[in-house]
């Protein structure tokens, strides 16, 4: 896949060129492409004061950044303490079997990515799952799988 470099240039113009801007620039890139393509890193390095090694170092250090494409919806199972104690493992298992993929993988149709995160700050509703920016609380295995049914039947918009 090749990307439109003009989009990268626009982000750099907006967010800034000096090395302190690395994280905001990369966050904007990820917002746009849903991951950080290597080509983007090359382009940023070529047009700013940041280097490829700095950018790659930052991308691989922070868990937020991904170097590979993800599905349309990222389904994040919270594995924070409260959710762990509340049975998060069961939610991941249930979603794995509902989606037919393992934790960290994309569905073949690229509709979903299953991921784990450490606490989304809704611990009182544990265990929780976050789909994009929406949080679903007080889940069990069945309810977790049902979230996917609902997204599927509503054509992805809920």
């Amino acid at each position: 896949m090749t990307i439109d470099l003009a989009l990268i240039d626009a982000i750099v113009t907006d967010k800034g060129v000096d090395p302190t801007r690395a994280i905001p620039v990369l966050q904007a890139v990820q917002d746009k492409f849903r991951h950080v393509p290597l080509q983007a890193i090359e382009r940023i390095a070529a047009t700013t004061e940041m280097t490829e090694s700095q950018l790659y170092g930052v991308v691989t250090f922070y868990s937020q950044f991904r170097l590979t494409p993800v599905g349309e919806k990222i389904v994040k199972v919270c594995h924070g303490t409260a959710c762990h104690v509340g049975g998060a493992e069961g939610l991941t298992e249930s979603l794995e079997s509902r989606l037919g993929i393992k934790d960290g993988e994309n569905t073949p149709d690229m509709k979903y990515t299953l991921d784990s995160v450490a606490c989304v700050g809704c611990c009182s509703l544990a265990p929780v799952v976050m789909v994009e920016d929406k949080v679903f609380g007080k889940l069990d295995r069945k309810k977790a799988a049902k979230i996917i049914d609902e997204y599927d039947s509503s054509g992805g918009s809920r």
Partner: protein
């Protein structure tokens, strides 16, 4: 003359919205658009996350009715019966002086959470109406920087981010370093997985945090600030940005604040999902656009912090305490709490607890009071076994030590730490070895890798704990764990490594018998470690079939009203049957 209307206020925090508050709000918005004559607004979180979504209805005479657990059905009835026909639906209303809610509220002391769930966080006028920015006005009026620092020092306020360093002293250091540029940083990284105080404060009362920061900037001589907030908190970031905009419009931020010639600018920086970035030097590196690796101190940030300039870094809750202290005076704050821990502390109650949510209690209250009175215990017929304090840096305090007072030094004596305020309550279905393994897995992933013992030592500890949970532990493992713990604590640069062994050490100290059972008897009494337990159904089964319907592998058989049986070969020991059984007929062997 303007007619006084009923007011309807919907709790719109992340927790409320996860429980369905946005649908309730949309419903009301449509009604208002359709002619319903009420003033509709939003607010943050009241702390009663266990009974969300919440809607407050204020009658024309100002009487407040707090509705809890409001879903789409209920709101329609509330509109018809209460708002239109004037007959409150008492069944869904809770009162602060009755029953469970009375117990929840009676022992609380709300300083930081005073406005939470009361004011509209998106409207600066709401904050101004409750004395907001009055402290800032006073400070600028009096124009005595050292006096501000003295007041904060005298109040006895200590950092709420975990370490409990005296805030006034920290400010004094920053004040003392002459420089043409100084920074303020607000630590909103909230890394403890199981804590949500800072998120809620930012979502519910962002101006209090800003006001605290402006006062701190004036006192220490800073003119620029960063709030470093977790990316997992999109709503907190949105509300904070809005608060900054509104404060700037009102000349409470920006250049020439309130015409007093003092300039201060605040930026919000989104974190990128790494626990170690909560550590102050790593956080500064991250703001500078680098990998978030901690560095040795000294120099402390007060001397050489962000971009090498003197920097005062405090936690969200610490900042939010400042306006109150200035308004009410150091003595009022110091009058609350114990000798060395003053004021109140916000705790996030989660896990096996009835009243999951946020509470703010005076220092000096006991764990027992927080968990069993304020928190309401487990809310099931199971007993509380332990509470985890301080997250990955903290430890598990057993029930037998629940007379421990909330006080930095008292909590330290148990081997746990006060931490930032996360409290995860555990009952007898929680395996303490598994909890230790869980935290080691967390710190092992989050270790930045700089120190060998933190990087490799945590990996070795995790391997051993995993082995024990898998039933392959050997008796020497316990000693090896203690040995490694000691070495990691002593050779790590930052707090992450220095405290990473705490969850293991505290569980070894208080729940050693569980480790020994796992190793010697190959048994997990909590029914959590799958290789070490068998689930069985006893004669108490009344054949209600609920377990069979919920079993993910369909391995439970039995006719209606007949004893059910688990087919062991297909059982994955997930524990669902035990969770759903109303007869307590599922046991672990």
């Amino acid at each position: 003359m303007t007619q006084v209307k009923k007011r309807v206020v919907v709790g719109m925090s992340t927790c409320n919205m996860a429980a369905g508050a946005d649908e309730v709000f949309d419903f009301l918005k449509e009604k208002v658009a359709g002619g319903l004559d009420v003033k509709l607004s939003i607010t943050g979180c009241l702390g009663m996350c266990y009974a969300e979504p919440q809607v407050q209805v204020f009658d024309e005479d100002g009487t407040r009715h707090l509705y809890v657990g409001v879903n789409a059905n209920r709101i329609a009835k509330i509109v018809d019966d209460h708002i239109i026909a004037g007959k409150p639906r008492d069944k869904w209303i809770v009162k602060y002086d009755e029953g469970d809610t009375q117990k929840l509220m009676a022992k609380q002391e709300r300083i930081v959470l005073a406005n939470s769930g009361i004011i509209d966080p998106d409207e600066i006028d709401d904050y101004l109406a409750v004395d907001g920015y009055a402290a800032l006005r006073t400070v600028l009026e009096e124009n005595d920087r050292m006096q501000v620092i003295q007041t904060v020092t005298d109040s006895g306020l200590r950092g709420r981010g975990g370490a409990g360093f005296p805030t006034g002293l920290k400010w004094k250091f920053a004040y003392g370093y002459e420089n043409d540029k100084k920074y303020i940083v607000c630590n909103a990284d909230e890394g403890d997985p199981g804590a949500f105080m800072d998120r809620t404060i930012l979502e519910s009362d962002p101006h209090a945090v800003l006001e605290g920061m402006i006062i701190g900037a004036f006192a220490t001589g800073a003119d620029e600030a960063y709030v470093y907030c977790r990316a997992e908190y999109p709503l907190a970031i949105k509300r904070l940005n809005r608060a900054i905009e509104q404060a700037t419009e009102k000349k409470l931020l920006g250049d020439n604040i309130l015409g007093k010639g003092f300039n201060f600018h605040v930026h919000v920086k989104e974190g990128a999902g790494t626990f170690v970035c909560g550590e102050e030097t790593a956080l500064l590196a991250s703001i500078e656009g680098r990998r978030g690796m901690p560095r040795p101190r000294p120099p402390f940030p007060a001397e050489s912090g962000l971009f090498g300039k003197p920097t005062t870094i405090n936690n969200v809750e610490t900042w939010a305490n400042v306006p109150w202290i200035i308004r009410k005076g150091a003595e009022a704050f110091a009058a609350i709490g114990t000798e060395k821990s003053k004021g109140s502390k916000v705790f996030a109650l989660a896990g096996k607890i009835k009243h999951g949510g946020l509470v703010e209690v005076p220092m000096g209250i006991t764990l027992e009071e927080i968990i069993h009175e304020v928190g309401g215990g487990t809310g099931t017929n199971r007993e509380v076994k332990s509470v985890q304090l301080g997250g990955p840096s903290g430890g598990c305090v057993p029930r037998s030590l629940f007379d421990t007072k909330i006080d930095y030094d008292e909590v330290n004596k148990t081997g746990a730490i006060m931490g930032s305020g996360g409290m995860v309550v555990m009952d007898d279905t929680t395996c303490m070895v598994d909890v230790a393994r869980y935290f080691l897995n967390f710190t092992q992933i989050e270790s930045c890798g700089k120190c060998t013992f933190c990087r490799v030592g945590t990996t070795r500890m995790l391997e051993i704990l995993t082995r024990i949970c898998d039933g392959k532990g050997v008796p020497e493992d316990i000693e090896t764990l203690e040995d490694l713990a000691d070495q990691i604590k002593n050779t790590s640069l930052c707090g992450l490594g220095q405290t990473a062994p705490n969850p293991v050490l505290t569980t070894l100290r208080y729940f050693r018998d569980e480790y020994e059972e796992h190793i010697n008897d190959k048994k997990c009494r909590a029914g959590k470690c799958r290789e070490l337990c068998i689930y069985e159904i006893t004669d108490d089964c009344n054949g209600c079939m609920v377990c069979a319907k919920n079993c993910p592998t369909n391995c439970i058989s039995g006719e209606k009203k007949q004893l059910h049986v688990i087919k062991q070969d297909d059982c994955i020991r997930c524990g669902v049957c035990r969770d759903v059984c109303k007869q307590d007929a599922v046991i672990v062997k």
